[in-house]
Assembly symmetry: D2
Homo-oligomer: 406 residues x 4
């Protein structure tokens, strides 16, 4: 349970903080404005990435702040989950920052799947360009017609037809689908209904230009399209891919999903913690600089107590997440199920509370797009649903708790 | 304290419910879709109102469901605040419904100002077309550069120059400014800095086509432009209007504002209660129709308790609001300050909680635009800031409470 | 929905307030101290009632403030549930006050049972002395060995043996059992296991001096024996009473219980609201009179917001309870199930919150016996369990809510 | 930030757990009952300690589980704050357990004061018998007449008169004062009003049999005397002690208090975390063993979610506390002010929430003395006030947070 970042991690953190301070934070508002200018009144098919993003990506890559999430010393920097955690937190402070370091969801999770479960050909075809930041990927799992909180509800089909797999079904909340560089989906579907519940589904790599892949629309999330990333609804109609696009084997979907989730949740949660720190910072600065009734507004009513509550909630959430990261690194995902589910509940709820406080301290500006606090709130709201809603994870935590007594 | 709706009120409620059921609810999704089609990728200068809205307005007017908010028996239906309350609740169930009955903010508040404080000429010029639903109006009070929770912070200037008033300053959150029919603003500004704190400001009628009125942008509120209404940021640069555009007199701004706020808060709150009832209904229907882990999701985890908590919170908030309405009708706004401030805190927070629960029960669909629950949540968030943030109203309630003991 | 107290109710309220101000509040501390002196280091068998209580009872009776709870114009004052509600609130401000007006639980509920369901002989024998305040009664329903939140779990037996009923079983939380004047129990037990679930139990009158009634102990509730009332655990071993002691008939226990609960909950809740008002008053007075860090402590941190939150919560809870009372009076208990369950959850939780805030504002004195706030907190805690825990009532509210859609 | 208990700490923890399982837990109920038998109806002057306590103390001492809190390798086991933390947690699971290991408040804090700040003579006279467990001590700081949350309010006087110090004033909440072995008080009072605010007070050792020390009463805390420990109110009337009883020097009271608080809060908090774990365990066991409406009650309503919420809150609170302990050990109390204040708020509030849930799951038994959950709830309530109320510590956390930006 040594949560102290290693020297290596600290060195990366220092470099990352310097990069954020020098290159990212000063451009934050300009990039947000440019993104709005490029994409706001524009159909998703014409979305563009602000050019500054690609410039920053190149700079980050050159600086060695690239693929930090991947625990491989050759392909990346070889940072453990716990070593990467404070770096993820740092990137979370600016909404678009993770992409700059090629550490953005869902690509990180997808790269991990390819890294751990892809064969050589699959890695070469998809992992390499993803690690290079040349393309982006999506994850097609959630379905509009069933309660996807119970993943075994999934109805999309994967049928074997000779050397091909035939995919049918509708997916939504395939995040990143609107990005100009989105090239490949990991599709999860029902392939082996004859098996027991957790061995019925498979994962398949689907190039997005395959015939039959019909993107129906982008969804708003809390009123936002999140351009140029987007959350897509996409129909797969008799989509045919070679059997070699199958990951691991038929019926192995849940086994892969399981492995994917642990570190991915650490990443999500640490970014959310960074977002909460940013909200707290903005909230304090706003509260100290505005005056009402003769006082800085931070001194009015219960505002100072809210600062303390935010600090206490953030610190607890961070320690809980670092502890989960430590357990993943040291005893493995399977022994960290309580911890991983717990952070999935605690951290987004904490961010929702802290960002809500920050909005309130900003007054009308808080719900506007002039500060990132409203978007952080929307992100928190989304995270309470994505990858399993609060309720599913609380059920996991309590079930494991009861097991101790039976 | 008789909250029972009068027979008259009940008759209007029955008619209104029938209208909602027959004409509004069946078209809700189509109108939302049409609105998106018309306005989503469009600069606010080109926003359009879905034609169905105007058709519904005409129908409502013909049915006598028009200007129900105005307690005047000749100009409208002569309903008291308490009699109108359940009608406002009903209109709150659909986001765009209030406009259909010419009962939408900020026009209702502005019409009340004109009705109570406008002179004959002002009424003829502006109140008549507003009551007819031919034009819309905005209220220009909040400013970007100061903490507007303390209204005495207002910096925009009103200077007398002969027979003219000269207006300078920047306002934002002027809701409805993007609507094609928005024609006039009630502008509030500092005219008499030499007076005591609550007699320094005045209200002036400003036609929006007056030279010097420069709309700089529409703001997003929780990521939404709320087209075709919008929340504007608008600069007033040496805007000149005749002195006859002054409401009541110089320095009377706060006195007018005070009178405006009581009934307006009842309206806002009752609409929010209607929104909460709608959220609860949608939450139950979704929860009963989706299945996970072998059960309707409403039966999982703490979901049933949340239904009860929503019901208990809504019923309490409604009674509190009806009580405030009753007090306004029977003892006057000045004797109802605790009640009016209390509902301003309780109701939006209640809606935020209930809509958040409803979002969660819908899963991903909850944050999408496919159901109104996310927009109701955004509305709640906005209401916790508009017309004074929670903190200002809690300060009022506690100050009055302490007075009882000093 | 006219919650305005009638003129009659207002007249009683004025008289009651005067009585409280003149006779009860000035003696409160002395009576609490005397009660401690008499009973603190004493086995419950020797508990005594402070003589001032009996003096106050006589005075209240003489003043016509007696049995106000009973809606009978001959036996009492003929006040409806809604008319009595504000009186119950007033008595709730002092812990021992309800007894002074012969309006204390569980006697009120038991008298109602006898009034509505007792035959002439039963009324003469038990109702008369109870109405006179000469004796006290207890209600023996909850059992230690089963989850009594599900009343159909009750295991105590009532067997018919000729003209006698034979009672066996253990009950606890028979409140008031330690009082020197406690003379009779209403015992509920399983008499007809062959019937359907809600017709298996009966209620029987049991004089407490019947052989086989063995009081095993008094229980502490939140560390307090609540002398001289007490919460008893009592064993019934082959207790024989004549069949004429049966209420209504065999298997009618639940039918009687149902009728007993509605008004009783109004009484409990209104008293709790009075307790909350008292807590708020004490909290403000303490907060204004103590100074720390150069300010009255009420001005520190979030204390002023807590005052507002208490006021808003109390007012909502009161309106909800008055609404339930109105429904009981006007449409009957069966049509008010949601309302009755809702107040059973809302009000005790509100009191728990408000009394907790009051404790905190008092510092160490708050948890001591020097102020009633700690006992009000204990009372709130108990009320969240008595007569069905929160969870059972939330289940009722949500079940009825779902029914609207099925 | 390595929170992993050292091997040494783990070894002690194993031994301690074995001791608890073998000697303490099996006797818990019997000792509680014996304590009630001995002390319940008895004036505090005659309180006795159940003989089993002394037997267990002897056994613990013989086993080497003694004075574990003291970071001295000769006088005790030389455990750091972090090494002791999990041991403190373990002892917190049973209310009277800390005393068995000579690790109970306020003796631990007082021994630390003597250890760090006492001179040789003082150590010999008082520290030795305390370390031996032969006597007990109290801490006399809080005063009834002022808001003691602001310690500079303290009014009790220490006057120098030749070679003597003369003490005058009234203290309350001197915990442990009723214990038969209580022999000495550390008295804090105003000695140097001419100094600046934090150098005006001194600490003096006062044998409790010194003339002028008049114990006026024991206070109840949440209705409980906490016999045989008690919370005393005590008057010091011209109490004379030799000047050699002064700790460190005149005006050094706050400096000593500061040093005392850090580790003491870790101890308090870790014990409270142990209490919360015990509550969770009892709550689960009760919930699994009782049946209502055809199911174990733990499966009803939101109960399973509450289990998860308890687990998540406990784990967060523990990590926060371990982190504070680590900082005290590694960077010192002065650099850990945020952390120490944060746990002082978070942990008692967490215990209040978890114990409240546990009470609710136990039904009526929960508020009775049959399970420790109600006492744990009372302990939580007390801890939110003792050593500074929540509000003071939140003010500290937020003040330090703002400092980062000024």
């Amino acid at each position: 349970m040594d949560f102290q970042p290693s020297e290596k991690s600290q060195a990366y953190l220092a470099k990352l903080k310097a990069f954020m301070a020098e290159h990212v934070l000063p451009q934050e508002q300009a990039i947000v404005a440019e993104n709005r200018r490029l994409n706001e009144h524009v159909d998703w098919r014409e979305w563009q990435v602000p050019s500054a993003i690609d410039e920053l990506k190149a700079k980050a890559k050159a600086t060695g702040l690239w693929n930090l999430f991947l625990p491989d010393a050759e392909l990346a920097e070889g940072l453990s989950c716990l070593e990467y955690a404070p770096l993820a937190e740092e990137t979370g402070k600016v909404l678009f920052a993770p992409e700059i370091f090629n550490c953005n969801a869902p690509d990180t999770g997808n790269m991990e799947v390819l890294y751990h479960f892809g064969n050589e050909q699959q890695k070469q075809q998809w992992l390499s360009p993803l690690l290079n930041g040349d393309i982006r990927s999506v994850f097609a799992m959630t379905e509009p017609d069933v309660a996807s909180s119970d993943a075994t509800n999934m109805q999309a089909r994967i049928d074997v037809d000779g050397d091909e797999l035939v995919l049918n079904g509708t997916k939504w909340w395939t995040t990143g689908l609107g990005h100009p560089k989105a090239k490949v989906a990991i599709f999860m579907g029902l392939s082996n209904p004859e098996n027991d519940k957790h061995n019925q589904h498979s994962m398949v790599l689907v190039p997005l230009d395959t015939p039959g892949v019909n993107i129906k629309r982008m969804l708003t999330a809390s009123q936002d399209y999140d351009a140029p990333y987007g959350h897509g609804e996409v129909e797969f109609s008799n989509v045919r891919v070679p059997k070699t696009n199958l990951l691991v084997g038929l019926g192995k979907g849940f086994a892969i999903a399981q492995g994917r989730l642990g570190p991915g949740r650490i990443h999500h949660c640490m970014r959310a913690i960074g977002a909460a720190e940013r909200c707290l910072e903005l909230m304090i600065k706003r509260g100290m600089s505005r005056v009402a009734f003769g006082k800085p507004i931070i001194k009015l009513g219960g505002n100072m107590e809210r600062i303390a509550q935010a600090r206490m909630a953030i610190d607890q959430a961070r320690l809980l997440t670092l502890n989960a990261a430590w357990k993943i690194d040291n005893v493995g995902v399977k022994q960290a199920m309580t911890e991983i589910s717990a952070i999935k509940v605690v951290v987004p709820n904490m961010l929702q509370m802290v960002s809500d406080m920050a909005i309130q301290m900003h007054g009308g500006a808080g719900v506007s797009g002039d500060f990132p606090v409203s978007m952080f709130s929307a992100m928190a709201r989304m995270l309470r649903l994505a990858d399993g809603p609060d309720e599913v994870h609380m059920a996991m935590v309590s079930r494991l708790e009861l097991k101790k007594y039976s």
